[in-house]
Point group: C2
Chain length 713, copies 2
Amino acid sequence: MSLERVLNAGSVAIVGASKNETKRGYQAIRTLLSENYAGKIFPVNPKEKSILGLMCYPKVSEIPDPVDLALITTPAKTLPAILEDCGAKGVKGAVIIAGGFQELGKEGKKLQDTVVATAKKYAIRLIGPNTSGMMNLKINLNLVGMRDVPKGDIALLTQSGNMALTMITEAKNNSKRGFSYYVGVGNEADIHFHEYLAHFRADPDTRAVLMYVEGMRDGRAFLAEARRTTREKPIVLLKSGRSDTGRRSAGSHTGALAGMPEVAKGAYTRAGVIVLEHSDELFPVTETVSSLPPITNNAVAILADGGGHATIASDLLTDMGIKIPILHDQTQKKLREILPFAASVPNPVDVAGGGDADPSIFAECARIILEDPAVGGLLMVGLFGGYGIRFAESLAAIEEAAARNMGQLVQAVKKPMVVHSLFNSAKPPALDILKSRGITVYDSLDIACKSISALAQYGAYLNSPPQEGGLVFQWGAKATPEGKKILETARAQGRWALLEHEAMALLGAHGLPVFPAPPSQSAEEAVAAAEKIDGPVVMKIVSPDILHKSDAGGVRLNLSTAGEIRQAFEEIRANAKKFNPKAEIRGISVAPMAEPGVEIIVGTKDDDQFGPIIMFGLGGVLVEIFKDVTFRVLPLTPLGAQGMIREFKARAILDGVRGNPPVDKEAIKALLLKVSEVIESYPEIAEMDLNPVMVYEKGLHIVDARILLQEAS
Amino acid sequence: MSLERVLNAGSVAIVGASKNETKRGYQAIRTLLSENYAGKIFPVNPKEKSILGLMCYPKVSEIPDPVDLALITTPAKTLPAILEDCGAKGVKGAVIIAGGFQELGKEGKKLQDTVVATAKKYAIRLIGPNTSGMMNLKINLNLVGMRDVPKGDIALLTQSGNMALTMITEAKNNSKRGFSYYVGVGNEADIHFHEYLAHFRADPDTRAVLMYVEGMRDGRAFLAEARRTTREKPIVLLKSGRSDTGRRSAGSHTGALAGMPEVAKGAYTRAGVIVLEHSDELFPVTETVSSLPPITNNAVAILADGGGHATIASDLLTDMGIKIPILHDQTQKKLREILPFAASVPNPVDVAGGGDADPSIFAECARIILEDPAVGGLLMVGLFGGYGIRFAESLAAIEEAAARNMGQLVQAVKKPMVVHSLFNSAKPPALDILKSRGITVYDSLDIACKSISALAQYGAYLNSPPQEGGLVFQWGAKATPEGKKILETARAQGRWALLEHEAMALLGAHGLPVFPAPPSQSAEEAVAAAEKIDGPVVMKIVSPDILHKSDAGGVRLNLSTAGEIRQAFEEIRANAKKFNPKAEIRGISVAPMAEPGVEIIVGTKDDDQFGPIIMFGLGGVLVEIFKDVTFRVLPLTPLGAQGMIREFKARAILDGVRGNPPVDKEAIKALLLKVSEVIESYPEIAEMDLNPVMVYEKGLHIVDARILLQEAS
């Protein structure tokens, strides 16, 4: 359902309207009036006749005209009744300011559920609760009561009023840009992130979306919408709650479940979202990617006056994975012609005081550099804008002319230019000219570098083929009768974990190479089982009460003779009984030993934000230490599987090192896709863990498989 | 030699004095006059009689009064003659502004050497060349011509005039702090970083040192001085040239050799220096560590109004390794008593609007929180200083009173408080009050978090025992006759690499367990050698012309029978001849095979900044991928060796994993110390590489040793 009548409301009721200047119900009306909101305003308060010259109504349902949107400023407990009244009136949407819902725990969650149910009944869409409000600056619909918010083409979507205030303050103080919308998402009880995003994607006046997220309730739908949006306009996002304390803080703030940070960052990034971890970068990066062309070749030149800034910028851009190419000989030659002897021209280009007497040299250098095909964008660092301040006022006019030239240059060559200037806070006209032509200017080297690197990241994304498929599950479509039966049996027995041979059989039912060793009931049965196996065997305890078999002394490896097998059988049984006398022992399994190979691990989990996800990495101790694993949101596509195999750091191991042959990557890919298929087939599976899997030059061997089921809900 | 008469000069000659307002030789005099420099000023210019009312001298030697310092603003080529003249006059120091020396390459380096030699002859100490100058703000000795530099207690020591300007601009715009000194180190041709540092350490008016470094010429002396200094006052340092491009840029700027970044960061940090990588953080962190008490327990509390900032700050502090402890029950109870129901008190503490009507609540909360013994420092984030702006002017006075209380609180409890405020740029009086009481205030969450985390880092350093020893070599003190002979032989034969058995013998001469297998000349000799060895052997080609033996097919492993050995002998010889027909073949060595163990590598190198350093890490492919190695500046102390073994990420491997026993850490420690001893014994060794070394439960086995000698100079 479109949010058009909600975010672009033609009329607003203010429930909780007040004459008290410190109250939200007063401030909102005052702001709507002073900012000339074009629609109708209806104060609602049974105790007042009129507020700020507007007629006041006792309840929403008594307003004679149609009402699109209600701003509700009254406390949490009043909400159900007010929404009933709004429903009777046919209101399309409500902004609920009050806190006291999900973020306060169980009781609050119950109240929130009631509110959402009431809204659903009347098809009222809810913004919030626990939000600082909403603004559509295009029609002066300002429901926040914040004044002097700069207008522009950035949509601001945040889960924190403070972060909104931070972004608005920064836009006001340091840029010439502003906002088309602000939505405080609050507890995201009804309207979810992706619905707002779809609205902003369709809005011709919005050029970029700036987001602060504590936790999304439907991350999967967001990813799908983000993929569409980022092909048309950039999204810049900061996701907090990366740390335990951050998650706790987010929980107490918006009741958000933050999800796994390593999963979120990858998922957002693959959807083309520019993900940041530092709030300082949030507004500048958004401003830059929304106003300048992306960099298509990941290569940036640096233009400086003096060495320090250029050296630091070189380090930072390199850290960010940006190339700083040596300029073409012809480019260097042209630069040498106009620069003093002490200048350095390979890149970074240091004019070495060449602009002191005539700062127009910066525009000339910028042109020469940006015309070099090896250069995708230009970062100018140092003192531009300040030559008129430092040396002689007469230089200011030269700088202004140079700024105009640079503005034209960026338009003409369709390559971006970002400027770092020490003199930004002095606001010289030359820098204002740059800004009004879309060239962004920062007094921070860190932020200037991050901004231009975001243009390279976005350019690389736009060059990549659009992602197809994934994200939507065909639940159960490929379930097999055998698989269903295994899960039904476990459920019927009240178990929430499959026995290992069941897990193996389930995987086998989807065509994976497994050995679903059924438990032997006696030593002789075990010997007979081993006789059917080539090579040495492994024996393991089978008990629904013993999950960690090794800890219970329930595993024996590398057994080759009947004697060894008999002995192992007795020992395992004795160990298991000692470990847990009450354990129900189903027998002891006998399976082939895996030959040594490259160890990998594959797992699946439910993420709070995205639902089922898959993890892949090398097995072994060092990999645990370095946490070198990759993630994807399920279901997995063949391209996604290939990406996982390519992107982990130690991927060289798969190609064979120290004389070892490369391992069977196709088998890994098939394994990942089959695991995805299994998860998609049985929604009752909560978590799967194949650890380790041995991969060989040809084929692989799943050594251990663990499958946990959803807790009954 | 003390720099007192240089940095605290009582009289200055300005060589290159000018009447042209755009010239440095004019600006310097004007600034000295306008800022009331207490000493005497002597313009020097043969063409002028007087400048700015001061009598002008044709040359320095014709000035009748004593001259402490000469500021020389004339071009590079004039320097030798001018310094001769200064020498005749008995000048103590000179500031050389001109570029055109080492940073321009060979010719420039030659000129620089001449200048330094001339200065040495007359005991003139040189600042620069290629510097923006020097300021002693305590006596208004401003030789930079920059006006309105804020005075204070931070000494600024940088290798970039732009970075100095950046720091000064930031101090002026955003703080109430300033500088005691500024020194532009330039090419560091004579006075080195550590000499300036020693001066600042001794200066009672300097409370902290802020440094920007492109490359140090005597990093070792700096480390020694830094260790002394950081016990008394903090040093904050940004070292650029971490990337290849950064190194190239630094080279063209100050001719600096940047050294290995991974070595520098560790070495500085262990000397107590706070090392930063983002220039945005440089001034704020210095300001914070110089004005607030350090945090002694690495634990910080966060006080916020609303969730977003607190959540982001939690993530950032966690990234920085800071603990955010749950507050004591009593602390939480006290907070609950004064805060609204929606507030969150475990930490982060969110007052949830509790300050909207009365912002004095922040001071009360700060007191309650800082009195909790689990809390080492407080980070307040959000809107403080802005309540008077946002809500009602009357709140401003309450905020000011609260700010005064917080100032007293920090003094009383001796714990620091850093403030993030969105309203910092509006400069409300409440924030000015905080700043003038030493509580630092930033509008960036990133910088506020980094600043308070630096207090924790510095506190941990001050709690650690002082480092003893190291840094100074007793060259040759422990050299053995056998070792000397091996090196002499190699030299006499014109070789710059030892043969492997020579390298082994050299290590053996210092008591390391080695098998210096002499080359066998025939298959039978090889068989005879193998007979003396227990277990299988390895055979390797011995040739000064074949360094990478495996590439030449010159290695055969795991040989057990006479037949295998004969065959290997012939094959290796044939392979080597095929690989390089001109290779001089000295024979084929026979040595015991190493049993499998934990692979480690140990190496030494010459670092541009610090001279000989040692590297240690696990061997193997994964470790190469993850670059998990540690470094120390040689010579190594026992504590240093222990530190190396403890601090690399995969150290758990040494403790034994997956059922393996722990390996012999004492043997590793002894190996590291012996390697250090070898390097200290023979200055002719340039580089050593022991790769791999197998370590066992007891003892170790050096499998391969490579030793390279210094190129003849």
